[in-house]
């Protein structure tokens, strides 16, 4: 007997015959159906990558030229990697997936990659999958997209250096903290003595083979783009589009008391060894009491308690005398919606990170809110803040340079006015989406 109503493609996944469409070809090309993928959902975690992905998904939904847009985020809801795909809300899916082999970035739940994920692609029929990660998802889904739907273009936005660097994609040496400038099989094996150079050769070729499935790479910074070009991505295939930001109004300048100066500095974000908070505290500690009295640093940061005991102890012993002297305020963690109020109380925002960063969200947010920055002269930070224009650079990891700069800025009323006036408003979510759509149509990244 024949059972034919729902004839399924034979497994492993194969392209299904395309459903005939009555729409004209040109129109089909201009009406994108975009699935945005991310390694996390902002409902559960608030990293820069997932926020950028989610905001872009919402902007795609509103954009001209987009017929439909969906969001698929990896999630861990306490059941482990069941492989299950579920509906978070209309148009938004969660995938209980994980990576079990970080060396080769292989998905923990292989079965679901070729079944339920393939089903999702089959049924959504996206013209574009714009994915923001493969961490926690594994690389294999890229292949399944092309197997199921060869016409679908894959856009991959890179948010860190994970393909280049096994060390959480940070390009920082393991063990003793040292910045890393480029990867090689030998150098990487030196960072991971348990893994051979040959294994790193295999890793790189594994990633590069998967990356050939990607039609277009996007980098939020030129710095990260260059790192990937050095590593082996064709310069023609990778463009820079900055992450979109909210369209909220800039804050007015902090109201100064009579005779007050632009001497309030704020640190916002995670507190971990990469973020350079210890450099900042050492800089403050090196100041004379008179210099300390002339400025205030506020630390709005989270997750110190999650760091190593040695790091916690170091931070605590550095901050105690500074809190006592009054030049440091420890404001603690904040919710995203509180950011605006907290930034309102400072004049400058500080980003003293000692690793490369890519395009730190805090820089764009500060510019949106109308605050110039002082940042490490390193990687994506040095690119996004123009020294002497809309902010200042300090030597990364150099407390003396940070100390000199903070004292000088606190004393120079003109410096803040000049930097404040020079701020360029970051691109909005809508502009960011538009840039991507132009890219999809023309293959070029145009200014939004």
């Amino acid at each position: 007997m024949s059972i034919s109503a729902s004839k399924r493609a034979a497994r492993p996944v194969k392209p299904r015959p395309r459903v005939p469409t009555v729409r004209a070809r040109a129109e089909v090309a201009s009406r994108e159906r975009i699935l945005v993928m991310s390694h996390a959902h902002p409902d559960f975690s608030l990293g820069g990558g997932e926020l950028a992905a989610y905001n872009l998904f919402k902007a795609y939904r509103e954009a001209d030229g987009v017929e439909e847009s969906w969001f698929l985020a990896r999630a861990d809801r306490g059941h482990g990697a069941t492989g299950g795909i579920s509906l978070r809300r209309p148009g938004e899916y969660l995938w209980e997936q994980a990576v079990h082999d970080w060396h080769r970035m292989k998905a923990a739940h292989q079965e679901s990659v070729t079944t339920w994920f393939a089903d999702l692609i089959r049924r959504l029929r996206p013209t574009v999958v714009h994915t923001h990660h493969y961490a926690h998802l594994g690389l294999e889904y890229l292949r399944v997209i092309k197997e199921v739907s060869p016409q679908t273009r894959i856009v991959l936005t890179l948010h860190e250096y994970m393909a280049i660097c096994r060390h959480n994609g940070q390009m920082v040496k393991t063990g003793k903290f040292r910045l890393c400038h480029s990867s090689s099989a030998d150098d990487c094996a030196a960072c991971f003595p348990g893994t051979s150079a040959e294994d790193f050769w295999l890793r790189k070729h594994f990633f590069q083979s998967y990356f050939t499935l990607v039609d277009q790479f996007v980098s939020p910074s030129e710095f990260l783009r260059q790192r990937y070009i050095d590593w082996g991505i064709d310069p023609e295939k990778i463009v820079v589009i900055e992450n979109g930001q909210s369209s909220e109004e800039a804050l007015p300048p902090r109201a100064l008391p009579r005779g007050g100066r632009r001497n309030h500095f704020g640190f916002f974000g995670q507190i971990n060894p990469f973020k350079g908070i210890d450099v900042l505290l050492e800089a403050l500690a090196s100041l004379t009491p008179e210099e300390q009295a002339g400025l205030l640093v506020e630390v709005h940061g989270a997750n110190l308690e999650a760091q190593s005991e040695a790091f916690q102890t170091r931070i605590e012993s550095l901050r105690e005398p500074l809190l006592a002297s009054g030049c440091l305020r420890w404001a603690g963690p904040y919710q995203p919606h509180e950011m605006r109020d907290r930034v309102a109380g400072v004049d400058w925002v500080l980003v003293p990170s000692v690793w490369w960063e890519n395009s730190p969200m805090v820089i764009q947010e500060s510019f949106v809110l109308g605050r110039p920055l002082v940042v490490s002269k390193l990687g994506g930070m040095a690119e996004k803040v123009r020294h002497g224009v809309d902010g200042y650079h300090c030597a990364a990891g150099n407390p003396r340079d940070w100390a000199r700069t903070l004292v000088a800025l606190a004393a120079d009323a003109k410096a803040w006015e000049r930097a404040h006036a020079a701020i360029r408003r970051p691109v909005s979510h809508a502009e960011c989406a538009r840039s991507h759509l132009v890219l999809l149509q023309t293959g070029r990244a145009d200014a939004a």
């Binding site: 007997m1 059972i3 034919s4 109503a5 729902s6 004839k7 399924r8 497994r11 059941h79 069941t82 492989g83 299950g84 795909i85 579920s86 509906l87 978070r88 209309p90 148009g91 899916y93 209980e96 739940h109 079965e111 679901s112 079944t115 339920w116 089903d119 999702l120 049924r123 959504l124």
Partner: protein, 571 residues
């Protein structure tokens, strides 16, 4: 003066027949056993065996010491039997040397130097090595073997023997019961590779140490009786290992736990199940189910059901009963249901009974919806409970419904029954089921081959997707549907003999029912316009969680495909 009671003594003068024990009085210091010694044509001497304690071995030829090469390896059998821990390197040894005379006429000397603190004593044993024809000839080795457990199934008369055997293929090795019946290993055992046995003996015995492990099924052993592993070698009979027997649980599940506790590589599981487990487990299931008709069934009818119901809705209860009230809330606001449906709950969980009986009375007083509950005296599983419910209902059509499935709107039954009425070739019909988040839980089932386990699995396609993405538009015909909500005519249900009760806990009963219908030429329908919410916990693992669960899924899958191989994979 020497205290003669403190002298180290050896229990015997030979080491080839049985272990020699070294002791001071009753304090055992160590033991030595030579399993084999052999000389090749070119004069290579290999001595193999095991020793416990601080014992140093050397060999001599015509009273001349020989330079030896000694390698140690693990001997889990010795360690287990003597209850001594393996030292680093292991209890086993292989001693290799080259003789001056390739044709020794005098015995070869094996000297054991036994140490106890400062004290030492030296013992000489004479070995008569076997002559081999070639440098690497290992064909005619003395076999080694060990019985780890023997489990007697008092119901089927089978005994399952687990162990390992290293022997060349031309050696006769058999298991023997106390009545003297012999069962050749090669005929009665499932063999598979065991890494630890290979590590210990592969180097010496080569291919004879491959597939060393065995699970054998023999007969004629009573609980407590001994089983021997016996070889006939060079005309000599030798007992390689002996073990007492214990009782295999008689409940199918208990027996399955004991049997599947003996793990084999999953890729070999299909061969082992056919040879060893299925004959026992299926018989135990039959015997257990053979008792059901004689059990007292309790039935309580609350209120009066419709006089001539069109459909019986049968819901088995297992694990929790609080879903019942949530179902009643949906049924009571459904006029068609009240007028035409007969509701039957089957209590299939002894733990639920006490609470459910008064709960049912209270629910009836509150909702006034007539229903019946049936308690079949024991847990019968999904199939058994559904069959019991069907037997205690009367309408010409039946809907089998899970207790955690809730219709999304009143009037859900009629469209399903209309399909059965309109087209007699439709054997069963099911609705779309959605998760609590509204996404697809069930839109029909299909069969996927998973060659790594040699099985067909039931797959729920489109799972987790927005219902708008369900490719089925209107009534569709599919390979199978879930048993969580399935409508069938009573005639067809009886014609195919109801739900199959030959599976162990869960899996495949629903596809089995669908395939029974398809085998008789019926089609399986799926009607997406009817939706129920199904709160099934999402379990997405191909083979379930844990080793036992995995074994059960495989067992069921093998049964499923042995029945329906001609239909699976034909879509």
């Amino acid at each position: 003066m020497l205290d003669i009671t403190r002298q180290i003594e050896a229990s015997a003068a030979t080491v080839e027949e049985a272990p020699v024990i070294f002791a001071i009085g009753n304090d055992v210091l160590g033991a030595l056993k030579v399993d084999s010694s052999r000389v090749t044509r070119t004069g290579k001497l290999v001595i193999e065996g095991w020793c416990v304690g601080d014992v140093t071995l050397s060999t001599s030829e015509a009273e001349q010491m020989l330079p030896v090469r000694l390698a140690r390896h693990a001997r889990p059998d010795v360690s287990q039997t003597l209850k001594v821990e393996e030292p680093e390197g292991g209890l086993g040894f292989r001693l290799e040397t080259r003789l001056q005379d390739a044709n020794p006429t005098a015995p070869i000397g094996l000297t054991a130097l036994v140490r106890n603190g400062e004290e030492t004593a030296s013992f000489d044993f004479a070995l008569r090595p076997e002559r081999l024809d070639g440098e690497h000839a290992v064909q005619r080795i003395k076999p080694l073997g060990f019985i780890e457990s023997a489990m007697v199934c008092s119901v089927t008369g089978d005994t399952i023997i687990v162990g390992w055997l290293v022997a060349s293929t031309d050696t006769r090795v058999f298991l023997e019961n106390e009545s003297g019946d012999g069962f050749l290993i090669e005929e009665h055992a499932f063999r598979y590779d065991r890494r630890d046995v290979w590590d210990a003996h592969g180097g010496t015995y080569g291919n004879a140490a491959r597939n060393a492990a065995f699970i054998a099924r023999i007969q004629g052993v009573h609980v407590g009786e001994r089983v021997n592993l016996v070889t006939e070698f060079s005309g000599k009979r030798q007992i390689l290992s002996t073990a007492g027997s214990s009782l295999l649980p008689i409940s199918p599940l208990g027996a399955a736990r004991a049997l599947f506790g003996v793990t084999v590589p999953l890729s070999d599981f299909h061969r082992r199940v056919e040879q060893i487990d299925r004959p026992i487990l299926e018989r135990l299931l039959q015997i257990q189910q053979g008792e059901w008709p004689s059990l007292e069934v309790k039935v309580r009818q609350l209120g009066s059901p419709p006089a001539a119901p069109e459909v019986s809705v049968v819901v088995p209860l297992y694990g929790r009963s609080d879903f019942v009230e949530h179902q009643l809330l949906e049924f009571v606001r459904d006029p068609w249901f009240r007028a035409h449906a007969e509701l039957v709950y089957v209590i299939d969980d002894p733990a639920l009974l006490e609470a459910f009986v008064p709960q049912a009375e209270a629910l009836f007083r509150l909702y006034g919806l007539p229903f019946r509950w049936v308690w079949g005296a024991v847990n019968r599983g999904f199939s058994g409970a559904n069959n019991l419910g069907a037997a205690h209902s009367s309408a010409p059509k039946i809907i089998f419904l899970n207790s955690d499935a809730f219709p999304r709107q009143p009037g859900w039954i009629q469209p399903l029954l209309e399909v059965l009425d309109a087209d007699p070739t439709v054997g069963a019909i099911g609705p779309r089921l959605v998760f609590a988040d509204g996404s697809i839980q069930h839109a029909g089932m299909e069969f996927l081959r998973r060659e790594e386990f040699h099985i067909w699995v039931n797959h729920h396609p489109w799972r987790g997707l927005d219902t708008a993405l369900d490719p089925a538009e209107g009534l569709s015909f599919l390979p199978a549907i879930t048993g969580a909500c399935l409508a069938i005519t009573r005639d067809n249900f009886e014609r195919i003999g109801g739900w199959d009760t030959g599976y162990l806990i869960g899996d495949f009963e629903d596809s089995d029912l669908c395939l029974k219908l398809r085998d008789q030429g019926y089609r399986i329908g799926y009607l997406p316009s009817v939706e129920l919410t199904h709160l099934e916990r999402q379990s997405f693992r191909l083979l379930g969680e844990g080793q036992f669960r995995t074994s059960v899924v495989l067992f069921n899958a093998f049964r499923h495909q042995s029945r329906w191989n001609h239909l699976l994979g034909t879509e």
